[in-house]
């Protein structure tokens, strides 16, 4: 039985171990480490019963405490140079997303151009981390951002509902990877999760991870449908044990999307996971983050919970589309001293 993860701050002695773990998990050496981590939970995942016992043995979430902490961290005042740094960091962490039924190749190309060069009037603006599209648009997106270093993420596995047979989900994933996707955003089977079939969820993530090959896998829990914070914590652990490179809050398609509280909870999970296994997992809140102020609140959460190691677009992302325009307007305000308006950023 592996040790039960701690929900509170790590003890002092762990700092050194974490630093060491950080070295181990350098980007190149990530994949084997993740496999090792999965292997170290072999006894947990040996049967449905052991996995259930492990997940239900995770400490319960203190709802009031969690929300109070998230709210308290949201009150930090970030100004001037710190704000400029935060805005640039947030821009570099955006997965610029378009997931509409009405997406056209033209719209995806426009989005790609915006990701590569978010503010054409100011070339010092950082690129966004990635563009996020449906699988059939991957090739178009790949072409649009070619040579820029901007990654292409694709949702897969019957996004957003995830209600399809495993074979279909895997085919969906392979299709996106074959088209050149650098990252795959999968959704878990919430129905199975809520019915208590944790093993099914776990096996599915494993299978999709296999199908991803070299592409990084983001696992979407759709926290708005999981009902409780305890469930979010359990889902986070299933995802991490199964080898997710990122855990992501939501699809952006339901009423409740990323909130500071559920993101804080997931940040605690990745922090504890690294303390225990040495494997670093990224976090991506998605949906509902529209203003610079919100984005900066999330960055404060990251720094204060997971730590500065996660303040990098390799480990933390925002799934957003309208957020970028607000960040750009704030950036223009800092540069010129004048409030900018929506006429001075691209419409998407």
């Amino acid at each position: 039985m592996p040790p039960v993860p701690k929900s509170d701050k790590p003890a002092k002695g762990e700092k050194k171990a974490r630093a060491k773990a950080g070295e181990q998990t350098e980007r190149a050496g990530k994949a084997p480490a993740a496999r090792e981590a999965t292997a170290s939970f072999a006894d947990v995942t040996s049967s449905d019963a052991t996995l259930r016992r492990f997940l239900h043995g995770l400490p319960g979430v203190d709802t009031v405490g969690l929300e109070a902490r998230a709210a308290a961290l949201g009150t930090r005042s970030i100004k001037t140079t710190a704000k400029a740094y935060a805005i640039d960091l947030a821009i570099s962490m955006i997965d610029l997303t378009t997931l509409e039924g009405a997406d056209t190749a033209g719209k995806v190309r426009a989005l790609g151009a915006k990701a590569v060069n978010p503010d054409p009037t100011d070339r010092t603006t950082p690129k966004t981390a990635a563009v996020c599209v449906y699988p059939d648009m991957v090739a178009t997106a790949k072409e649009a951002v070619a040579g820029s270093g901007v990654k292409v993420a694709s949702v897969a596995t019957a996004f957003p509902a995830g209600r399809a047979a495993l074979g279909v989900k895997l085919a969906d994933t392979k299709d996106a990877v074959a088209a050149g996707a650098d990252e795959i955003d999968m959704v878990i089977d919430r129905g199975a999760f809520l019915a208590g079939h944790y093993m099914k969820v776990y096996e599915e993530i494993r299978a999709v991870k296999e199908a991803c090959g070299d592409a990084r896998l983001k696992v979407i829990f759709e926290t708005g449908e999981l009902s409780t914070y305890d469930n979010i914590r359990r889902a986070s652990w299933i995802g991490m044990i199964a080898g997710a490179d990122f855990i992501k809050t939501s699809t952006g398609k339901v009423g409740v999307n990323a909130t500071p509280a559920n993101t804080l909870l997931m940040l605690e999970a990745v922090r504890d996971f690294r303390a225990q296994t040495g494997v670093q997992v990224g976090v991506k809140p998605a949906g509902g983050i529209r203003s610079t102020k919100d984005a900066i609140k999330f960055l404060v959460l990251v720094n204060e919970t997971a730590g500065p190691d996660w303040l990098d677009n390799h480990w933390f992302r925002f799934g957003a589309s309208s957020l970028l325009n607000d960040l750009l307007m704030q950036r223009q305000k800092l540069a010129t001293g004048r409030y900018s308006g929506p006429d001075y950023v691209t419409v998407d």
Partner: protein, 298 residues
């Protein structure tokens, strides 16, 4: 006065800003003292910051589409409704104007009556200005050519400092009558009638955000508004010479339409100049088909 009235606790009114149809305090949390013409303390008014100005512009921009798109007839009805509501609260405005401007009760009442009449007058103009400022143009070609006036957009109004109510109404009503949305910087030393007008606007079907009213130091609030890239025009009615120059320079950056301050007798017939100051002319050319030697083809 009877004993029972003396025993009551006094109920002071908390004057607040009017932004996006809501009555927020200043984001800065600041207030300043407002005195009557004799220097006696009347109330505390919110001392707005540039962030309140920014929020007001966002609200005004959001409201613009709906207000500009509303039919002129509907806008007229809503403005008339404002006049009705003002009439109902006449006594309050008479008292506030009397305090603010140091007028006798009779003179203050005359000012308030004139202001209400002005609302009605501008309410009538909403569906008539298009005929005056637009129309068919004779052109040398087979085209049917029409010009129609369109609202400029978000207009910042630096309200007159002296005439806190009649002056305010005279600059605000023409701006919103034509379909613009407004961010008003109330008279610095006499903001109370403006802040009370907000309560009237909120209860007379004027959509939230169409009029936003800020009180505070004129120079402090007007500067970011003049430089704001999302404000389309600025009326400098209440700016002194020095401030007007600074604001005009700041406004030049995104080619804002600027109405310079000029000496105005607020009680005189205003004419249509303030209506047309914040209108853009849209001209449409429509082919009429070929005109052969026999004349029109239809």
């Amino acid at each position: 006065m009877s004993e029972s009235t003396e025993a009551r606790l006094s109920v002071f009114k908390t004057y607040k800003l009017y932004v996006g149809g809501k009555f927020p305090r200043s984001e800065s949390g600041r207030v300043y003292e407002v005195n009557d013409a004799k220097g006696n303390w009347l109330a505390n008014a919110p001392l707005s910051s540039r962030k309140d100005a920014r929020d007001a512009v966002v609200a005004a921009r959001k409201a613009f589409g709906g207000w500009a798109g509303a039919t002129a007839y509907l806008r007229g009805q809503i403005l008339y409704r404002v006049a009705e509501m003002l009439e109902g609260r006449r006594e309050q405005f008479v008292r506030e104007v009397q305090d603010a401007e140091g007028l006798s009760k009779a003179k203050a009442a005359a000012v308030v009556d004139a202001a209400i009449d002005r609302w009605v007058w501008y309410a009538g103009w909403t569906d008539k200005i298009a005929q005056v400022a637009g129309g068919g143009n004779p052109v040398a070609g087979p085209f049917f050519n029409l010009s129609s006036p369109e609202p400029t957009g978000v207009v910042t109004i630096v309200a007159p400092q002296d005439s806190s109510f009649l002056g305010l109404v005279s600059v605000l009503a023409p701006v919103i009558a034509t379909g613009n949305t407004a961010v008003v910087v109330a008279a610095e030393d006499r903001p109370l009638p403006a802040l009370s007008l907000a309560e009237v606007l909120a209860t007379s079907d004027v959509p939230g955000g169409v009029v936003n009213i800020l009180s505070g130091r004129t120079a402090e609030i007007a500067a970011p508004l003049a430089a704001h890239q999302d404000v389309n025009a600025i009326d400098l009615a209440g700016a002194d010479e020095q401030l007007a120059k600074e604001l005009e320079v700041a406004a030049a950056d995104n080619l804002k339409r600027v109405l310079r301050p000029q000496p105005v007798d607020w009680s005189a017939d205003p004419g249509t100049s303030r209506l047309t100051a914040f209108l853009e002319t849209k001209t449409v050319w429509h082919p009429t088909g070929s005109l052969g030697s026999g004349g029109s083809s239809y």
